[in-house]
Symmetry: D2
Subunit: 384 residues, 4 copies
């Protein structure tokens, strides 16, 4: 039995790897080891760890390494504490392969810990192009990884250009699309009436037009978050549509955006708006299928949006150069631009599906590759 260790550091991480975890767990030649870490073990980010367990996965290690502060320095320090804790975890678990997901600070910590400990690394969602420090982390992780599971053809090509072996690159699609496919495949796509008892703010009537807002800090624009979210909220308000607003993730600068949202609410501007810390993935996907428009800089607009056909107004540099479908309008941070784009989308309505990021079988492909791959050469060498 090959021991495959997945490190999950956030809710987004979990959604991005869940279908692969299911497939690994079911595979008779693989054993799944699950490490929950960073914001995934914290109540105030929605206790993802409980969700993982309620989905039937055993958690082998819970690691706390998120240092409070959400400043540039605390992100670096959290990565450092993560290295300390993850190396101990790997020493105990002795996995044959570590899967590291995407491009976050815990992805970097996971990768470095595994690399130092001579454990082969499989990386999902490599090769894409975006903004923020994620861009550097993602490509750096590629340079440490032994097996690559990019989510799109474009990404796979980029990984090869980075000097990785063609035979180590498996273009499986995005495992998040697997979840979306599952959810949209269900019979009943209604969202519970009780949804708005959670979170805070006014109740939203889902049979009437509403926009979905999900805006995260841009680490290279540290300090600008409060103004950025404010422009977005002004634009949304002007449209007259109802709005569902999500709080930002834990990256450096999240405090700025949170403060912006708090002030917005405290100044009594939040009429017809409802605020959630986070949403179950199935609810989120259904809302994406129903919304007039998704506004912000979440990668879900680009990726899941393409598969679902959600109209998306993508703000600023965070998703720069990520391959995107016809459903996305890119805009700057100003109220005017954002407003115009929402109104344009509002006239167009839903788009037809594109499978840029996979066809819903990524998880199964990942498990199969890990089970059948031969001896992995630990020493990496660039191909040129």
């Amino acid at each position: 039995m090959k021991k495959i260790c997945v490190v999950i550091g956030s809710r987004a991480n979990y959604s991005s790897i869940k279908s692969a975890m299911c497939a690994i767990k079911k595979h008779r030649e693989l054993e799944l080891l699950t490490v929950a870490a960073a914001s995934a073990v914290l109540d105030r980010y929605g206790a993802v760890v409980d969700l993982i367990e309620s989905d039937g996965f055993k958690i082998h290690e819970k690691l706390h390494f998120l240092l409070e502060g959400e400043t540039p320095a605390t992100m670096a320090k959290s990565t450092g504490i993560g290295l300390i804790e993850l190396s101990s975890a790997f020493e105990r678990l002795k996995p044959d392969v570590v899967i590291t997901v995407g491009d976050r600070f815990e992805t970097m910590a996971t990768t470095l810990a595994a690399a130092y400990m001579n454990i082969p690394i499989a990386h999902t969602m490599g090769g894409e192009v975006t903004g923020t420090i994620d861009e550097s982390i993602r490509h750096a992780v590629t340079k440490f990884s032994h097996i690559h599971f990019p989510a799109s053809r474009d990404a796979a090509n980029r990984i090869e250009k980075l000097g990785e072996l063609r035979e180590a690159i498996y273009c499986v699609g995005c495992p998040r699309i697997d979840l979306v496919a599952d959810i949209l495949g269900e019979e009943n796509l209604d969202v519970s009436h009780h949804l708005f008892e959670l979170g805070v703010g006014d109740k939203i009537d889902l049979s009437e037009p509403f926009v979905l807002v999900s805006q995260h800090p841009v680490t290279t624009e540290y300090g600008a978050g409060e103004k950025q979210i404010w422009e977005t909220l002004l634009a949304v308000k002007k449209t007259g549509f109802q709005a569902i607003v999500l709080w930002p993730n834990a990256d450096a600068g999240a405090d700025d955006i949170s403060r912006g949202i708090r002030k917005w609410r405290e100044q009594g501007l939040a009429e017809n708006m409802h605020f959630f810390k986070n949403l179950p993935i199935d609810v989120y996907v259904r809302l994406m299928a129903m919304t007039k428009c998704l506004v912000g800089n979440s990668s879900s607009g680009i990726r899941e949006g393409a598969y679902i056909g959600t109209p998306v107004v993508n703000i600023g540099s965070r998703q720069n150069a990520r391959e995107r479908g016809t459903n996305v309008i890119d805009v700057g941070y100003s109220e005017v631009e954002i407003y115009d784009a929402i109104m344009r989308h509002s006239e167009h309505g839903k788009f037809s599906a594109e499978d840029i990021y996979g066809n819903g079988t990524a998880g199964k492909q990942i498990a199969e590759v890990l089970a059948t791959i031969g001896q992995i050469q630990l020493q990496k060498t660039i191909t040129y």
Copy 2:
């Protein structure tokens, strides 16, 4: 005044950046900030920090982050503690650019800390190809860096292929060659008679043939170091030449090699051998110019060796694929191969100089680039 911060984590680091430090310090538009860290602040690695100060540089921060143990896990943890300490240091020093050197664990920590804190990163000695985890670290650091100072044309090309902007790559040569040029330019190239009062072992007669041994652990071959150094010592003994042997650096596995050397000495096999923890660079260069042959896996054989013309027997995978001159014979770990190669070199004698790794002006070029470069774009994007 632009504040340029150099982080020095080891003796080798210092030799690799010293000429650039001199040039930065002298430059009227630049201010040099020096952080000494990891093994550079430790007595038992030769107190490099004292050497730096005696060379006339002010040390702005001394950071301890080397965790004892030299196992794979402690290397990961040391990187973690380094991130914690370096991010605090950068917060206080507020440099405009951080220079990170080469491909060691402290290089990675320096790079990540600077990247999270939105400080532009200049990287020296990127783009080369070697063995061990250094190979991955080096290319990963390239993906975080804003200015590249490769040491050879070959390396510069590789950095561009990695998706870096051509205009951010300055092929300046290796700053270590600057030092070598300085040293070999001195009138008197004799080595002091008092040299052998330091270190332990028999006194070497430098007017008679001797070999120089410098063999470091290979992190991906953890556990094999004791046998590896033993084969080398057997081969050296068989040649009948005298030998000067250096202890290994602080990488994972160093304990194995040290144990091998200790046992060799305890078993009374060390006749005509002398052992040093480390040597001043000027002494080392002169010995390289005088030795029959440099044996081991030190990068100095490949780089400085090319410029000096030292015959080199390069053992194992550590320097794999680093561009090399005609002065290098590559061999495996066995006594026989090593012995044969030493004897072959012994017949050939010294080689003529090649400038693969620069012409002795790297430091000045680095300072000039840093002084004249315009606004650096923090957000990196891959070029393809």
Copy 3:
């Protein structure tokens, strides 16, 4: 100039040492160094650091070392990270004396860092008896401290019994009482009408009876916090009085209490209640002077309460055995007990002042002692 370094780790810490900081800053023979750390540098605990600066103090170091999680293990780890960061800070600041306040995890970290670095330690608020791990931390800190500034006669006696030199113990009273004395000495004791625009919940009419609730986790009763706060809120609701409720501090278990309060609000039970993350000390003191009754387990009821004459219902073991005045009724965690005690106090009304914890000159006395004390013997020896 003697350099006196104060480490402030929380809002409560700051209130407990502010008057001493003022006196040190003014003293011509002393220089004040201020380190803000742990929850004091965090937005979500009210950015105490901004308050410190707006009070005219220069902050010399801001240290992040609070690990997210608020579990027993993260408290230990936060202490660990604190040791790493504080020892670097002391290395840079080189204080002649470090002042450590009270009995929190950052107090322990401050004390150990200073002790290892051979810096004399002055400890305020030692010698008291309470519940939770604070009890052990406080006495342990006494065993590392060179100068003791207890807040009461009773505490001073206890420090001497612990084997400390009588001449090193200065019974100066509690510096928090200095602040209370200042505030109550002002002409206008009204609270601004705008107070309730901060925080969340219903507006309170301060001319009508209200109770003040401040209940913190008890670290040795980890996991019980949600039920404990629930009983308190039920009791308060039953009295029919309005209520001002404060969120808990950052100790292990705070999440439980926070969750209890959130659920209370989400279930629509929070009528006539208003909730604050924290309150400026001057507002808090005025509310203590106006409230029908302070309910919970905050030390402020015992200490400031004695001086102000506030009726206090003290719940559970957290303030166990802290010396108290006639203004305090001690009860268990049940709704019934708490309700009865509030109603009893409500009939009695305000108490007259007692000066168990000082007369309002503690800060000045502390500064004077630090300025005039001779050479401090670093090596401590128990007196028996």
Copy 4:
């Protein structure tokens, strides 16, 4: 089965608790959990971890947390990293009781980690009086501990005076004396002829007079170690006796003493001297029974010395006020004093045994107490 976790941080630690470990392991109602940490897991301090395993104990966790440097700041930081690692270890092992030994930095880390995690703490060797920071650590640990196992009557009384419950204090004697009793009870007390093949230096003829030197850094006299050991070595040389010299432990300042010894050897002064990094306890005890005199500041002179009757010249403040027998002469750091005391002892010869530190049954008593003790009250309260 009650799970009893022992944390061993050094060779001395191990000797101090080994007999209790044996007794716990054998006890049918107890399960022994062993954590090896700090210098105990390091090759260069003699790989105590291998010794523990070869003695038949299973190691449940190996924790690296010794930061290189041996400066005051690195001692603090090592304690911090220890807290991070030990709290994770305790989270996994879930012991019912943690045993913490003596007064070293890892003792403090063990104690704090256990205290935060609400695990009852048993402390051995508390209540004694010595010099250095150990003095404060020891009493601080007492204030966190729930069960006390002092080594002498005097120490037990002191613990009670510190405000601890009389019924929680068990005066069992010192477990190191158990080992000494075992060793001296063996038939053959000869030391192997092969001893001097280990270590470095001249071979000692054990049938001729020799002194034993064991001198450690005094943390409050940081920087003075080189001169201190030099005076001692001068005095020893002057006596004309042969000498066996031990390298210092890992406390802050060890580098100074090591440098002193190295220089002594490098200057060719080490005739008739042999140097060991450390010695197996059975060899050390036999040497203590044979030596003319033990010179230095090791606690073994005071404790084991009393039981064995070894003449001891105790230098400086490190053992200040530790209860001692007639076998000890206390002196300052000067060559003259040390020389005179050695010569005086040399005339007197061996002393008769005193059982100040126990009668050889401490380990068994500790196991029995842990097995039979009822529910331990986690919340501590001072008794006065």
